[in-house]
């Protein structure tokens, strides 16, 4: 088990390191000189040259990469030009908000998506099933940001139940969380439905029913347990969707998270801030995937051995 954990952690670190290189490589394509942009229009070529060497931009990419990784390892992600503050601090301020939003999305996916799919699968063909299938199909087809705008219009402007945007209280979290989770709830409901339906055709389900157990008891004890593994797999894959969706949701609801910080960095061509946010976003995703992988190892020891 320990070998498995260490192996997976090393693999994740390798992915993050190569990702940092790839991101720096792509950043190099972006037109415009960061130093020239920082100094503005009145800068002389000498000033630009000096700032470039100060920023280390005159060095070749591999050298810059090694320096960057070295600094990151010491907690230094550089300074943001726009905010005049260390990138690490800006990220530290916004990351908790994004994690809160993502966690709320995951929570809704688990407590609404899975039960909805299970009821639908257990009662396949009923009106509940039809209703939940249509809702989840539509949920997969609606853009996140559009759902957000409709939520704001209906629940903030018309009904006045929730604030339009920002953070601070539980009421602020409701609309963004529902918006963000709409897609993943739909996806997980569909998966739970088909997974449970497949399990319910098994012989042991018939046996359990034949010995006189009630229908829902069988669904819970024999069906749900066995349907769970593919559901967890899909749930793990949906985490990436939640994090990407967070960028859109934060934009719609003016939620002060990592996604909005990143969008601001793109608009202002704030390179180090952009690079930092991308890496932290990707690293958070890889870290969650690592946790999902490790949890498989706990659930099913056979995965560790292979």
């Amino acid at each position: 088990m320990i070998v498995f954990i260490v192996k997976r952690i090393l693999a994740s670190v390798a992915v993050i390191l190569s990702m940092a290189f790839l991101v720096m490589l792509i950043m190099d394509i972006i037109p415009g000189d960061p130093a020239a942009m920082m100094l503005g229009e009145n800068a002389t070529p000498e000033m630009i040259r000096e700032l470039r060497s100060q920023m280390g931009l005159d060095q070749p990419l591999p050298v810059r990469y090694v320096n960057y990784v070295w600094n990151v390892a010491h907690g230094d992600l550089g300074r943001s030009v726009r905010e005049m503050a260390p990138v690490a601090k800006l990220i530290g301020d916004t990351l908790p908000n994004t994690l809160l939003l993502t966690a709320a999305g995951m929570f809704l996916t688990l407590v609404i998506g899975i039960p909805l799919g299970l009821i639908s699968g257990a009662r396949a063909g009923s009106w509940v099933d039809h209703l939940s299938r249509i809702t989840s199909l539509l949920g997969l087809c609606m853009p996140v940001f559009w759902i957000g705008l409709i939520m704001i219009y209906v629940f903030s402007f018309r009904l006045g139940w929730f604030p339009v945007g920002g953070t601070g209280s539980l009421a602020h979290l409701v609309l963004p969380a529902v918006t963000l989770a709409a897609y993943t709830m739909a996806a997980i409901a569909r998966m739970s439905r088909s997974s449970l339906m497949e399990v319910l055709t098994e012989d042991y389900i018939r046996t359990a029913r034949a010995k006189g157990l009630g229908f829902w008891l069988v669904v819970w004890h024999h069906g749900f347990r066995n349907a769970l593994i593919p559901i967890i797999t899909v749930f793990g894959m949906q985490v990436g969707n939640l994090m990407g969706g967070a960028i859109l949701t934060e934009t719609v609801f003016a939620w002060p998270g990592l996604g909005r910080l990143m969008m601001g960095a793109i608009m202002d061509r704030d390179y180090l801030l952009l690079q930092g946010t991308i890496l932290v976003f990707a690293a958070a995703y890889i870290f969650i995937n690592l946790l999902v992988d490790l949890s498989y190892g706990l659930i099913d020891p056979r995965i560790v051995e292979s």
Partner: protein, 287 residues
């Protein structure tokens, strides 16, 4: 496989496809959107760029069927032209993803060894970005606009196609008909083009159709964020984004384009599901 059997198989698949009402709905939606895109100048009641300054934000079902936006432009006409942009980007990105994905997948699966592991590590790396993030990074680097958006979405989708093709190639290359073709003296190129590629076409078609839905969604998201297609080019995502400031007074401006996205995405999803069930009943996973 004889020609007659091939014909019968196709006939059966077509019958299965038409028997499923949802697939037919999907087909109708996709055809409708394609017609809108192709015949936009004929179908659109107004010039999508023409500004009617006295009709700013006018309500639907009045002078304009779906109302006018904040510049007094006809929303219906912009939606119809928007279908063009959506489909151009989606089809273009699929061509890029397919061409690149088949190239990488075939080379990787057929050659194996170091080449295979190097390419697959790169694909894994691209797949390790959370949804949307890679496309955002790429489009930031390339710059906005229709072509760059297409390129970014194409590269974003490439690894999935590459992995799919690679798995098919690996399972096909050791099958008897490939061995016998090789024994008969066929070159690698001939084996790849006439024995391997035709055999993974149908799963790839299914996935490409389902991917159309993703690409449309992705284009809308990038344009919504202001990174993708730029105004004044009518794009559904951009329309939602620019109408946002008037959500309180004129909600139709930014909500109506969302229906177009939903219909397009639904159409391609249903069509893709229908094709999957029709081409290979064994693949059916979701109800």
């Amino acid at each position: 496989m004889t020609d007659e059997k091939k014909f019968l198989d196709r006939h059966k698949a077509l019958k299965r496809f038409l028997k499923n009402p949802l697939s037919v709905v999907g087909l109708v939606l996709v055809v409708t959107i394609t017609v809108c895109a192709l015949a936009a100048p004929v179908l659109a009641p107004h010039d999508p760029a023409e500004q009617h300054l006295f009709d700013k934000r006018s309500k639907p079902f009045g002078k304009y069927v779906l109302g006018a936006d904040q510049f007094g432009r006809d929303i219906l006409s912009r939606l119809i032209y928007g279908a063009r942009v959506s489909l151009i980007v989606a089809v273009g990105s699929i061509v890029i993803a397919l061409a690149g994905g088949i190239l990488v997948g075939v080379v990787s699966g057929y050659a194996g060894g170091f080449c295979d592991s190097a390419l697959m590590r790169l694909m894994d790396l691209l797949l390790s970005f959370p949804y949307l993030l890679l496309a955002i990074v790429l489009v930031t680097a390339f710059g906005s606009g229709v072509f760059n958006t297409t390129l970014a979405i194409g590269i974003w989708a490439l690894p999935t196609f590459a992995r799919m093709v690679r798995v098919s190639v690996m399972s096909l290359k050791n099958r008897e008909f490939v061995t016998s073709a090789r024994a008969a003296g066929a070159s690698s190129a001939r084996i790849i083009f006439s024995h391997i590629i035709p055999n993974f076409v149908s799963p790839v078609i299914v996935y490409a159709t389902l991917f159309m839905a993703n690409a449309i969604m992705m284009e809308a998201a990038l344009s919504f964020l202001g990174l993708g297609v730029q105004p004044p080019t009518p794009s559904w995502g951009e329309m939602i984004s620019s109408g946002r400031n008037f959500l309180m007074v004129a909600p139709h401006v930014s909500t109506i384009p969302g229906f177009a996205i939903m219909v397009a995405v639904l159409g391609f999803n249903l069509l893709g599901d229908g094709l999957r069930d029709a081409l290979d009943p064994k693949m059916k996973v979701n109800g």
